[in-house]
Symmetry: C2
Subunit: 455 residues, 2 copies
Amino acid sequence: MPGVLELLPREQIAFQRMLDTIRRVYERHGFLPIETPAIELAEVLLTKSGGETERQVYFVQSTGALEQGHAPELALRFDLTVPLARYVAEHEHELHFPFRRYQIQRVYRGERAQRGRFREFYQCDIDIVGKDRLSIRHDAEMPAVIHAVFEELAIGPFTIRLNHRKILKGVLAGLGLIETAAQSAALRALDKLDKKPRDELLAELSAAGLSAAASETLLAWAVERSPGYEAAQAMLSALPERFPAGGALMRAGAEELAEVFACMAELGVPGHRVMLDFSIARGLDYYTGTVYETTLDAHPEIGSICSGGRYEDLASHYTRSRLPGVGISIGATRLFWQLREAGLIRAAESTVEVLVCLLEDALRPTSLALASELRAAGIATEAVLEPRKLAKQLQYADRAGIPFAVLVGEDELARGEVSVRDLLRGEQFRVARSELAATLRVEIEQGRALRRGSP
Amino acid sequence: MPGVLELLPREQIAFQRMLDTIRRVYERHGFLPIETPAIELAEVLLTKSGGETERQVYFVQSTGALEQGHAPELALRFDLTVPLARYVAEHEHELHFPFRRYQIQRVYRGERAQRGRFREFYQCDIDIVGKDRLSIRHDAEMPAVIHAVFEELAIGPFTIRLNHRKILKGVLAGLGLIETAAQSAALRALDKLDKKPRDELLAELSAAGLSAAASETLLAWAVERSPGYEAAQAMLSALPERFPAGGALMRAGAEELAEVFACMAELGVPGHRVMLDFSIARGLDYYTGTVYETTLDAHPEIGSICSGGRYEDLASHYTRSRLPGVGISIGATRLFWQLREAGLIRAAESTVEVLVCLLEDALRPTSLALASELRAAGIATEAVLEPRKLAKQLQYADRAGIPFAVLVGEDELARGEVSVRDLLRGEQFRVARSELAATLRVEIEQGRALRRGSP
C-alpha cells in the first residue's frame, strides 16, 4: 500500500533500536507508558480541530455497519494528543498528577501519497499534565529529554530551539497587531523566516496588517540568535527595552522563559545545544506558552525533528477539570526515513548473533544441544536443521548479517571443542565447548563496541 | 470505546513486560522482526478465507473517499498471517529463506462487544517460511519457543500439545469418512472433546457420517493422553496396528510427528511439558501437518494460550512460488486479560525507580543535578520541581508505586550526603552523594530479585 514505510528485517531492527532508545530515555526521565486504541469513536476524535486535520481522518466501519448503510461511527487516531485528552479525562480519578506519560504508537492520516509523507506512522510523545496547575519548571524537562534522546541516537549535533507564545503575542500587539487572526497570520509568516525570501515575508506581514517599519523591526529582531544560556537570558532581559509596548504579556513570557532556561541548565542541558529563537511559532493554535523545535545542525533541510509546547487546557472537551500540560512529539517513521535518505542511518546487523552450522546429520543432537545452551545464555541463535555444504551455510550467515558461526565436526567433538567463525573479521578459532557461551558473549560485546566506535 | 483493553500505567507496564519477554525469547531463537501496516488494501486482505472472518473485518476510508460515496478500498488487518503472506510475496527476492520472522502488532476484528472478546488486540506471531520446501524439523522449533516463552513468563505449569492433521485425516478416512467436508465436521466435534458431553459429541460425529462403532473407536482413541516423549512415540508407533486402514497418509503423519518429537527432545524441551493429544484439530483449514495448542495445567478453563501449525503454502494468492511454513501465535491482549482475571498477574510497580524530593527551593539546583546524575546512570528518575510538604511528596511516591525517594536537606548537603528512603520496606539511610547512583542501582536490583522470589 502506498504511503507507508515497510521495512526489510535489518532495517526494521535499526528502526526498532531507535524506538527502544527513545522509550528508554523517556522511562529514565520518569515517564509512564500508556497505549490507547487506534480506533476511537469519531465524535471523540473530531471535537477538537476542524479544517485540514478533519479532512485527513480515516473513518472505520465493520462489515455489518457498512451493509446497513450507516455513516461510520469510528475513526483512526490522527495524533496521540486527542487520545491522551480522552484517556486523562476518562481515568482522571485513577491517575496521579502531575501525570507524566509517554506513548509510542502509530497514527493514521489520509494524506495524498507523496514522497516522505506517510499515512501510517509512529509518534513518540511525552506529556506532563497537571491538575488545575502545572509549574512552569516542567517546561524545562522537555529539553532535558530531547537532549538525552538525540545524544543517545547519535545522529550528529543538534540545536534545541525555544520560544514563548506570550512573547510573540506581546511583541505583535506592541507593533499594533491586536486581533488573534491577524497575529496568527503574522506568526505563520514568521515561522517561515529561514525558508522564504525576505520580500515575500514582508509582503505576508504587510497583508497581516503590520506597517512596513514594524515588519522590518520584527524581522530584524526574530533573526537574531545566538546559542547558549547567557545569550538567551540577555535577549530576554533586553525585551522590555526593545519593545516598550510589549506589555505585561510579553514580560510574563520573558520571565517564564527565563525560568525555563535556568531550570534547563540545572538539569544539565549543555548551553551549546540550546538556542532562543524568536521565529518559532508552531502552527498549532493550542500552544499558549513555551514552544520547542529541534534541528540537526548539519541537516537544516530536514526541519524540526522534535517539536511541542505548553498548552492551557488539554481536555476541555471531555472534562470540566482544568488540565494544563506541556509535551513534545517525535515523528519516528518520518525521522527514520529522513535519516536514511541523508545517509545517517544504515540497516543494522541481524538480531541473530550466532548460526550453529550442521556438518552431518549424525551431529544434529550435539548441534541442537549447543543451540539450546547458547539460547539459555541469552544469545540469539539460529540452528541449521538439515546438513548442507558448509560454504552454503556460511554464505547464508554472511548474507543475513549474522556475525558468528559455530561449527562442530567429529574432530572437534572428540576433543570437547567447537570452532567459532567470526564472519566480520574472517577469522576462525577453537574454544572448549564448556566455554562457548561465555566466549561468544564477550566476542559479541566487543564486536558491538568496535562498530559503535567506528564512524 | 467498548471491546478494547485500555490499561492504567502500572497495568500497562506489566503488559509491556509480557510483550518484552515474548519478543526477547523470539529474538533469542533466531527470529527477525517485521512490522506491516495496520491498513491494507481490502482486496489483499480478503482473498483468503470468506465466511466469519470476512464479516468481522473493519473497512477504512478517508474523508475524501467517504464524501465521494466510494465503497471502502481499505481495511484493517484481522490477523498477522495474511499480511505476512503479502509481505513475503512482495519482498521475496530480498529475503533469506528459510525466513524466520516475528511480528508483535495489533489486529482488528469487528466483533460484537462481549466480555473477554476484543476488537483490537495484540498478536505475537512467529513463522518459519521456506522456499519450495521446509524441513519438518523446523516444526520442532515451535515447541522450543513456546517452552521458553512460558517458562520466562512464569505463569505456572503448562502443557504443549501436539497433533498432526495427516494422522487425523488418515484415521477418519480409515473409519470411512473420505470427503473433506465430512472430515471437517468430525474434526470440529473432536476439537470439543474436553468441553462437551459425550452424547453430544457422538451425535455430532454421527451427523458427520461416522457409524456409532467408529465414533466410539475415535473417541476412545482421542481421549488417551500421557505426557512425555516415550508415551508419545509409543502412541505413534501403535497407530498402524490400531488403525490398519489409516493408510499412507496416517503413517506419513505419524513418522513426521515422531521426528518432530525427537528434535524437540534434542532442543531441550522437557518431556513433562509435552503431550501428544489426538483431539487437537485446530479450526483453520489451512493447517496441513503438525498442529499445536498450549494450556495452563491449573487453568484449563482459559483454553489454548498459544496455537499454530504447519501449512503447505503461505502465499498462493500473491505469488507463484511455493512457500510452505510453520508458525504459532500468542494472543497477548486476551492472555493478559485472562491471567489478570485468574489472579495470575498483578499491576507492576512503576517504571519510575526514584523520586528526588525537593525540601526547599534553594536546594533545587542540587536536587536537579542529582536527578540528572541518576538518569545518566540509567536510573529512571522523577524530580519534584516545586517544594511541598515532605509527607505529601512521599505519599505521592508511595501511591505511584515508586520504590525509592531521595532527600537532600541543608544538613545532608553540608556533609556531602543524601538520604534514601526505601518506601517498600519503610527504611531510611544515608549515603555519600558520590555513592548514590551505585547504591541505588544495587538496592533496585536487590528489591527486584526479592520480589521475583516472592510467591
